[in-house]
């Protein structure tokens, strides 16, 4: 059997998976898989190391499909001013794909991203704040085209609103990805809406010199992707809608934050035979310098 031909439809399915998983953001602040409008101080640096493991498996016409994707992301945020921050994200990816008896593994750099966030509105009260911050950026084809990256230079933009108190934090985000074409492959544009609610479980009461908060986190993420195009032809087995729920825990100390969450698809309406993710496990640590 011509292996190239055999893999062709599978590559399309994998491309969709890549689409779905790449848009899981490297979040750099309070929530686990969402963004926040909370500030990075002027001249301050936040570094975040995030691990994301995603599993997907199904059986298509008696053919078992199985994908395990492991991604280690390093995110650097820098406050150019108290309102303007820039972020860079560099992922290292390992993907194992099994279709029937054929198994492949790809690993290496994924597609890096660079973007800027600007605080448009701020309203502060004692122990609470409301902020709105738009952001925009580029995703660079630093990954291996067709495996750990899609080869194209893509743009994205979004708007974040954050309402926070010492008891709870609510982050919402609307984002759109404008994906470009490379070597005949064009990933479908994607739109997502995220809501993240973090509730302080411990301590029950904030007192002087409270060293850390423990938050219970619940995040909802609605993702819609248009179909991919290959050599100008629309791929029917790509794109669609996915709704994720991510329960998690977060420990926020003065210099660092650790978090853990499980991202579960709760509603799926993908096109054709696209492979659906079963779950993602996310954990990270971020340090404030």
């Amino acid at each position: 059997m011509n292996e190239t031909l055999f893999w062709r439809p599978s590559i399309l399915a994998m491309s969709l998976l890549l689409t779905l998983w790449v848009v899981i953001p490297a979040s750099w602040a309070a929530p686990i898989a969402t963004n926040t409008a909370l500030p990075i101080s002027n001249d301050a640096i936040i570094v975040r190391a995030q691990l994301v493991a995603t599993h997907a498996a199904d059986s298509l016409g008696g053919l078992n499909r199985h994908v395990d994707r492991f991604e280690a992301r390093t995110v650097l945020g820098y406050g150019l001013t108290s309102k303007l921050a820039i972020f860079g994200m560099l992922p290292v990816v390992n993907i194992e794909r099994t279709i029937g008896d054929i198994r492949t593994t790809d690993s290496g750099l994924g597609d890096a991203a660079l973007f800027a966030r600007y605080e448009l509105l701020r309203s502060d009260k004692p122990g609470r704040t409301f902020r709105i911050a738009p952001y925009a950026g580029l995703r660079f084809p630093t990954g291996k085209e067709g495996t750990t990256g899609d080869g194209s230079l893509d743009a994205f933009a979004g708007l974040i609103a954050t309402l926070a108190s010492t008891q709870w934090v609510l982050d919402t985000q609307l984002r759109h990805d404008f994906n470009a074409e490379s070597n005949g492959f064009e990933r479908g544009d994607a739109t997502r809406f995220d809501v993240s609610f973090q509730y302080r479980w411990s301590p029950a009461k904030v007192v002087r010199e409270t060293p850390a908060f423990v938050y219970g986190v619940l995040e909802l993420s609605a993702n819609y992707s248009e179909r991919n195009r290959i050599s100008g032809v629309t791929d029917p087995n790509s794109g669609g809608f996915l709704l994720y729920l991510t329960p998690g825990l977060q420990y926020a100390a003065r210099r660092w934050i650790v978090d853990f969450g499980v991202k579960i698809p709760v509603l799926s309406d993908l096109n054709g035979t696209a492979l659906e993710p079963d779950y993602s496990i996310l954990t990270s640590i971020r340090v404030n310098f």
Binding site: S41, G127, R208, E209, R254, N288
Partner: protein
């Protein structure tokens, strides 16, 4: 036993704060978590003459214990907290350092009428 603990705490505070020390209670809005307040505390600690910095997130108060000759101004603090991404409101200066021990808890503050809350009226 409780008296002994309080006595030890008082002696400890006395040990790190001389009679000439002053304390600034700085009201800052928008700080909601320990991670958020950390950069502001570090910036204040870098100021020459500052011995200790603490905070009460619920009341939005940052306490600074410093040498008597350390002087803050509204303009200086407004810029410092603006750089950190927060809104400076006011400060109170007092002799000696208690680092917030005299401060009301958040529940107590809810009972204080608005016009009893000392605010220098400096908006961020």
């Amino acid at each position: 036993m409780k008296s002994i603990v309080l006595l030890v705490m008082a002696m400890t505070v006395a040990g790190i704060a001389s009679a000439d020390d002053v304390q600034y209670d700085i009201r800052v809005d928008g700080i909601t978590c320990p991670f958020c307040v950390a950069t502001s505390e570090r910036a204040l600690m870098k100021i020459a003459g500052v011995h200790a910095v603490g905070s009460n997130l619920e009341t939005g108060t940052i306490f600074v214990c410093a040498d008597g000759e350390v002087t803050f101004t509204d303009a200086q603090l407004k810029q410092l907290f603006l750089d950190k991404g927060f809104t400076y409101r006011s400060f109170e200066k007092s002799s000696g350092c208690s680092m917030g021990a005299h401060e009301h808890d958040a529940d107590d503050l809810r009972d204080i009428p608005e016009d009893h809350d000392h605010d220098a009226g400096v908006d961020g």
